[in-house]
Every structure is written in structure tokens, then in C-alpha cells.
Symmetry: C2
């Protein structure tokens, strides 16, 4: 089957580009002695996780327990969940997950650490816990090396837990000084900082500039999107991930309506103008989305599309788009080669 | 099981409120002689569609063929798809759908109408087609009564098609004059305007003010959300649809992080400030979302939550949220009574 025969909207991955993206980041990180631990929240597809591991990744990163369970079911054996896991449900599931995979997690509070200790004791296994620190993104994470060191000591003292190192997202210039100061504070007590885990696709090619980084977590690098191109981390032609859509209405000379709205492209703007780039009409602006309609201004385009014409849209942000589809179609040279189930989609908790 | 025992993030529907919302709109529309044709894109759950029909709805509205197929599978027999269906795949599926349900659709161009005629001939059944007109929202729709009349005549002349009337979204003051002018243009040719289908939840209680309206399509009225409350169409306490989340981090005195991000609440702002209302902390502001984290400023709250505390979030826009979950939990007086599968979620095409 040809790509032109797919019903729309269709989520399509160019397999040559996907493979090249996987190889390129692996090669870069390997050449700098940084472990590659890709974030599967972008694709949520076990087959792609296995491609990443075969290429040299030391394991994967999941953002939630539900994703980790799907990946463990698919045979992935080294899983990092850089998230504060809390509550009886999640701790019981974590204990179960520890029976079939090597799991490491993070904590940014003693409350989280104490829960993790219970899970480890339930599992009767040792759980590696990294301390999450805030490198400037102001999301989760302890605020100072003093806090980091205190939490590391707490973790090291809790039954079933091993202090594994430090984690942040994304990498910033604060990474190295924060790690060094924390290490200095821990030295007296004999605690080492084995892993320093950073992340981000926009900043991936600068990973080697962070001397303390031992592993990097990137997610979007496999697909790419408008935001990744805008950040200068990927070239437009490297992006492997597009939505094929149909022009379903041309109500006025300048306006066109696509069959992809916010339930296809998501509403993520990431600071960009418009909701995606139409590759065949780069001057067009997707100025609005309703749930199943993309509203496009074609006024800047010399040639304008006809009703029924198919177009290729590069989304602003690949992660939420992939999360909206049950299936992704893999193509090579325009030929449909496979269909992957987005198996960890809907793994909400 | 109690609501407090659900793992988070959980999507919860209060069944008493849901039933009351269904009854209230039905009663209002019935009292004004307006047919109720609820839009199931909001819930995508056959069980709720059946509740709406048992309450008096004449049929349902679906925004895409995939939704209609799921609803037909569940025994719904009168389905309106107010969308330009184009292309061989969709027309073949439409023909198949016509074998098991009474389907009506819309068109805003001759290209769409000609395709629909092919589908009707494939199905060997008559297909009712309404003309979509633009009542001011500037999405799809013909732009003038002259265009509407010309397209209506084209439809009436195409094999297998019957001209069914006019459709717009949402209802605006332009509805009545547009319909009247189109009707006048069609009278000479003996074409009547049987159905005038309007829609919208924000404007639902004004449906009776549009004298030409014969049926109304509302979707969000069953659940409600911040946007619906903001529009004055529902009271906060009528909203049946909330996300239960956990505070997973309290990195600073004022900041809190919830385990619901853009993959739970969606990024839809709908012109509102913040990404949802925390019912227990109404002064708090969900000022940012990453995919699995909600970033909250609790500075305006006298009391601030502890790590591990559970909160109830009213989303900005219920439709994309429901589309992100595979399952919805129905509760009554805080007791879990059932779980519904969001069966038409992922029906992407």
C-alpha cells in the first residue's frame, strides 16, 4: 500500500529517518561516553524501544508506571521512572514491576522516599533512587545542593533503598555546579554520586558540555517536530513524524479546513505561531483548531489547495500527537511497511 | 470502592449530576418543541448515548465516521455526521454504515455532495444531506444564502441524495435571517428546508430564541467544565466531570506539582487563565502543564496542600480530556458505581 492510499488523518513515521535519528544520537552520546537512556513517552511503542536498545541504549526512561508496565511486558529490562511515585496503588505496582525489571526511580522529598522504601521492602529487592533537583526549569526537584545532600542521606538510610545519584530536566548551565556542590557535601559521609541523569531533545547536542552528566534522556529526537526544528536540534528534513490530512472545505478564497484538529494535532503551541507546518504549503498558517478541524489561512500561498487534496502536516509537538493515536503507520519511500500499536497510550496512571 | 481509593489521575463522572444535566436540557428543548440531537464527541461512550436517547433525544450527532461506527455497533440507529466526508475510504465506510443506521450528513461544497451521492448509490439507499452554512464562526460552511440555495439544488439533483435542510455551528443571531433568505430562494423550485440544525453548549439555553431552529446539538452539557461555567451555561456545582489528582511535589513554599499534565487535562485554554480549577483550592492557579505534571501556584491559598494529598480538578474543556482517557469512572455519593470504556476514543478517521 502507498502512503497516498491511507485514510486521513493518518499518523505516519518515515522508517529511514527514524532509524537515522536513533543512530545519530546514539553515535553522538557514545562518542562522548554518555549513556543513552531514551524517553519512551514520545512514542509509547515497544518496537521502537527495542530499536533504541539494539542501537546501544542502556535502558529506557518512562514518565509513568503505566508506561513502564507496558514496556516490561514487552521484555524491556532496564527502566528508569524519573517521577515521584506516591500512594498505595502505585507503590504496590512498583513492587510488582521490580520483580521483572531493573527499576530506578527519583524522589524530591522524604515523603516520596519513605513510600519507595515501603515498595522496595514489599518487593524484597533493592531500589535505586536518584534525587531530582531543579536546574532552573522550576518544575519538581530539590532547590539546593544542601537539600539534595540531605535527601540523598535520607534515602541511603532507608530500608531497601540505594542512593543512585542525581537527576534533572532539562540540562542547563546549573547542572555541573549543582552536582559538584552536592558531591562535595556527600563526600564526608562516604556517599558517591554514581549517576547524573539529564534530559531533553532541544539540548541533546550540548550533552557533552556538561562534564558531570553520565546519562542523557531524550524523547523527541526519534521523530522531531516544529519545536525541535525551531530549537535548532534537528533539521526539517530529519523529522520522521507527520500527519497526513485532507482539505475538507475551502469556504473562501483564502481559508481552507483540514480534517485534523486538536484531537489530532493537540493544542500544544510551545511558543510557536500556528498549530503545525503544512509541508506542501509552507507559507500557509494553521491559525486555529477545533476538535476535528484545522483552520488554515492560505492567503500567502500562490497556489492554493483544492477540496479533497491531501497535505502533510508537521506538528508543533510530537509527544501529545502520538498519544492521541492508537496506531502509527511506518513507511519507507512512500510504501506502507508496518503498523505499530501505541501500546502505552492510555496507560493513564 | 470509594472515590478516595482510585489511583490518580482518575477521570470521574458524578452520575447524579450527569443524569440531571441530561434531563434538564431535554426538558428545556422539549418544552420549546426543539429536537434534541446530542453530540457524542464529548463522551464517546455508547452507554451515555443510550441514556440521552432514553431521555428523549431523537438521535445523536457524531463528528467523525469512526465515532458513528462505534455508536452504530452499540445499537444507535439515528446518526447525524455534520462533517464533509471525502475520499474513497470514508465514502465506502459511509455506504456500509447506511446499511445499519439512518444516517444524515452535511456538505458545504459540490465536491463533497458528489462524493456523498456515490456513497448513497453504493449503499443503494437515500442519504439525507444538509447544507452547512457559516453563521459567523468562520470554520466550514457556505458563505451566503445564494451559495446555500445553489448547493441545496445540486444535492436535490444528485442520485441517491435528498436535501435535508441547513446546519450551522454554533448558533448566532445570523442563523434566522440566513435560513429565511435561503428558504425564500428555494421556494420557487419547490425545495423545502425540513431541518435546521444548530449547535453548541455555551448557547444552549438560547436555542428557543432562534425561531428557525428545529434541532439542537449540544455536547458538553452532560459534563460541563470551566469554559461552560465561564460562559454562564452551567453552574459550577452542576459540572459532573472532574479529574482526581495527587500532589506529587512541593518544591517551594508556594509551588505544587500535580500528577495531571497536558496528557490528562489537554492544553486547551479556551481563553481562560490557567489549566483547570482545583476545587479544594479555588485560589490556586494551574499556571503551566508539562506532559505529566501540572504546575500550580498556591501562593494565594491560606492553607496549602501536603505532598500526597489528593485534589479535584475541573478541566477547562471536557471534550479533549475525555478523549485522553480509555476509561471513565462513574460515582454516586462518592461511591464507585461503574466504569465506562470511552469506546469511540482513538476512532481517529
Amino acid at each position: 500500500m502507498r502512503i497516498e492510499e491511507l485514510d486521513t488523518p493518518a499518523l505516519v513515521v518515515d522508517l529511514d529517518k527514524l532509524e537515522a535519528n536513533i543512530a545519530k544520537l546514539q553515535s553522538y552520546l557514545s562518542s562522548h561516553g554518555i549513556a543513552n537512556r531514551p524517553h519512551i513517552k514520545t512514542h509509547k511503542i515497544p518496537e521502537i524501544a527495542h530499536m533504541q536498545i539494539r542501537a546501544g541504549a542502556i535502558g529506557i526512561t518512562c514518565q509513568k508506571l503505566g508506561e513502564a508496565e507496558v514496556m516490561a511486558d514487552a521484555g524491556i529490562r532496564d527502566i528508569f521512572i524519573p517521577y515521584n511515585l506516591l500512594g498505595e496503588h502505585k507503590l504496590t505496582r512498583l513492587a510488582r514491576l521490580m520483580q521483572r525489571a531493573t527499576v530506578s526511580v527519583t524522589a524530591d522529598s522524604e515523603v516520596t522516599a519513605r513510600g519507595l522504601s515501603e515498595a522496595a521492602q514489599m518487593a524484597n529487592r533493592q531500589l535505586t533512587v536518584l534525587v531530582e533537583f531543579d536546574a532552573g526549569a522550576h518544575r519538581c526537584g530539590v532547590q539546593s545542593p544542601q537539600e539534595a545532600a540531605a535527601l540523598a542521606k535520607c534515602i541511603a538510610g532507608l530500608p531497601g533503598l540505594a542512593f543512585g545519584g542525581l537527576m534533572c530536566y532539562p540540562n542547563t548551565p546549573q547542572l555541573d555546579p549543582f552536582v559538584r556542590e552536592t558531591r562535595a557535601l556527600l563526600e564526608a559521609g562516604g556517599l558517591g554520586v554514581a549517576r547524573v541523569s539529564g534530559g531533553g531533545t532541544a539540548c541533546m547536542w550540548q550533552a557533552h558540555t556538561h562534564r558531570e552528566l553520565t546519562e542523557h534522556r531524550a524523547g523527541m529526537y526519534i521523530y522531531g517536530d516544529r519545536a525541535t526544528v525551531q530549537a535548532g536540534a534537528m533539521r526539517l528534513e530529519e523529522c520522521s513524524f507527520t500527519v497526513i490530512a485532507t482539505v475538507v472545505s475551502r469556504p473562501t478564497a483564502d481559508r481552507g479546513i483540514l480534517d485534523c484538529g486538536s484531537k489530532t494535532l493537540s493544542s500544544d503551541l510551545l511558543g510557536l505561531q500556528g498549530h503545525g507546518l503544512i509541508l506542501e504549503y509552507p507559507e500557509a498558517v494553521i491559525y486555529g483548531l477545533s476538535e476535528e478541524h484545522g483552520h488554515v489561512d492560505f492567503s500567502a500561498c500562490l497556489k492554493k489547495p483544492a477540496i479533497g487534496e491531501r497535505v502533510t502536516v508537521l506538528p508543533n509537538h510530537c509527544c501529545p500527537v502520538s498519544n492521541l493515536f492508537d496506531r502509527v503507520v511506518g513507511v519507507r519511500n512512500g510504501n506502507v511497511e508496518l503498523t505499530w500499536r501505541v501500546a502505552a497510550r492510555g496507560a493513564v496512571q
